[in-house]
């Protein structure tokens, strides 16, 4: 069933609320992921091996994050709004970093604001989850992590079971509506992450969403 594979996945959870960290940690561990929790965006960047000013000046050779980062992080799940870093600031920093931009980022928020959701997705978030996050919400995470694993193993064998995304989402978001409408791939491909994991006879991993995004 692929459960052994799940424990290879390491999720970094970022939230300034101690209760939310506790809950998300339990949710993730119950889903068989390895978890690290931090309470701020800057600690998240530190854990990822990125100093806050990396990636801004392309002329400065940034210290190779791989020297600092001992653990591979397969997904970052973060609260939208935390003190100390502007809204979706962590998301932007990750996506602007040459070394980190392929790490899938999922945003959590207690507020269902359509413009916020769209903005996060446009900035490169894979998913937007409404708090309080449920166990069933976490099923959405796996396809994103699998996709990056496939990429890093250079298109080796397809994983056997990627699982269909859950039918009921719970709140309307531009991302979900797009999936249901089966948009052609030329549109914002990241939003279609979920529906990529369907056909087992694909001969190459469909990474259009990542490679075409500049």
């Amino acid at each position: 069933m692929g459960m052994a594979a799940d424990s290879e996945f390491h999720v970094l959870a970022v939230d300034d609320s101690i209760i939310d960290r506790k809950v998300i940690e339990r949710l993730l561990k119950t889903s068989s992921y390895q978890v690290t929790t931090v309470d701020s965006g800057s600690k998240a960047l530190e854990f990822l091996g990125l100093r806050e000013d990396d990636g801004i000046n392309p002329n400065t050779p940034s210290v190779s994050p791989n020297n600092h980062r001992e653990v591979e992080v397969n997904l970052v799940i973060t609260d939208y709004c935390m003190p100390g870093m502007t809204d979706y600031g962590l998301l932007k920093k990750i996506k602007e970093s040459s070394s980190l931009k392929n790490i899938p980022v999922v945003i959590m928020s207690s507020e269902n604001v359509p413009s916020r959701i769209s903005r996060c997705l446009e900035e490169g978030a894979e998913e937007f989850l409404l708090k309080p996050v449920k166990l069933s919400d976490l099923k959405k995470l796996r396809p994103h992590m699998l996709r990056t694993k496939i990429k890093s193993h250079n298109g080796k064998q397809e994983p056997e079971e990627l699982g269909m995304p859950d039918e009921k989402i719970g709140f309307p978001s531009p991302k979900q509506e797009e999936q249901q409408q089966q948009q052609p791939q030329s549109k914002n491909n990241k939003r279609k992450a979920m529906e990529e994991d369907v056909s087992p006879e694909r001969t190459r991993p469909r990474l259009n969403g990542i490679t075409t995004m500049v």
């Binding site: 101690i18 506790k22 339990r26 207690s110 309080p132 166990l135």
Partner: protein, 151 residues
Amino acid sequence: MNQMAIAALKNQYKSFVQSMFDEGVLDNQFSQLQDLQDSSNPNFVDEVITLFCNDAERIITEMNRYLNYQNVDFSKLDSHVHQLKGSSSSIGAHRLKLACVNLRQASYERNKEECVEAFNSIRHEYCLLRSKFQFLMQIERRIVALENNQQ
């Protein structure tokens, strides 16, 4: 005999939680948390409750402080309410969450009098919730004690 006592306590726990659902004190999110508790994490609910109460009391104390100033810093107040609302939502403290929404509204309107009223409501809901949580945790601990005695 212990088996019967344990069963009776478990029923008591279940009924009491149900009454909290019925009264709207708790919502489905609390069930989600209960579902996350298992033999490998037998104290999860207790731990979350404890974290929540400590955090809530800290925030309520802060809010009280802000409201006692002549000139209320509504934006600081709001950020505290936002935190408490978030925690309440995460633990399933439904009525407390609603009380937070009211305080956010009053704070947004910069109406000190209404803020004080809304804050009192928060304090009331929190005290009610805390005493019910304490009761639950007492039952839980008795169950654990009896179960440990059997080993």
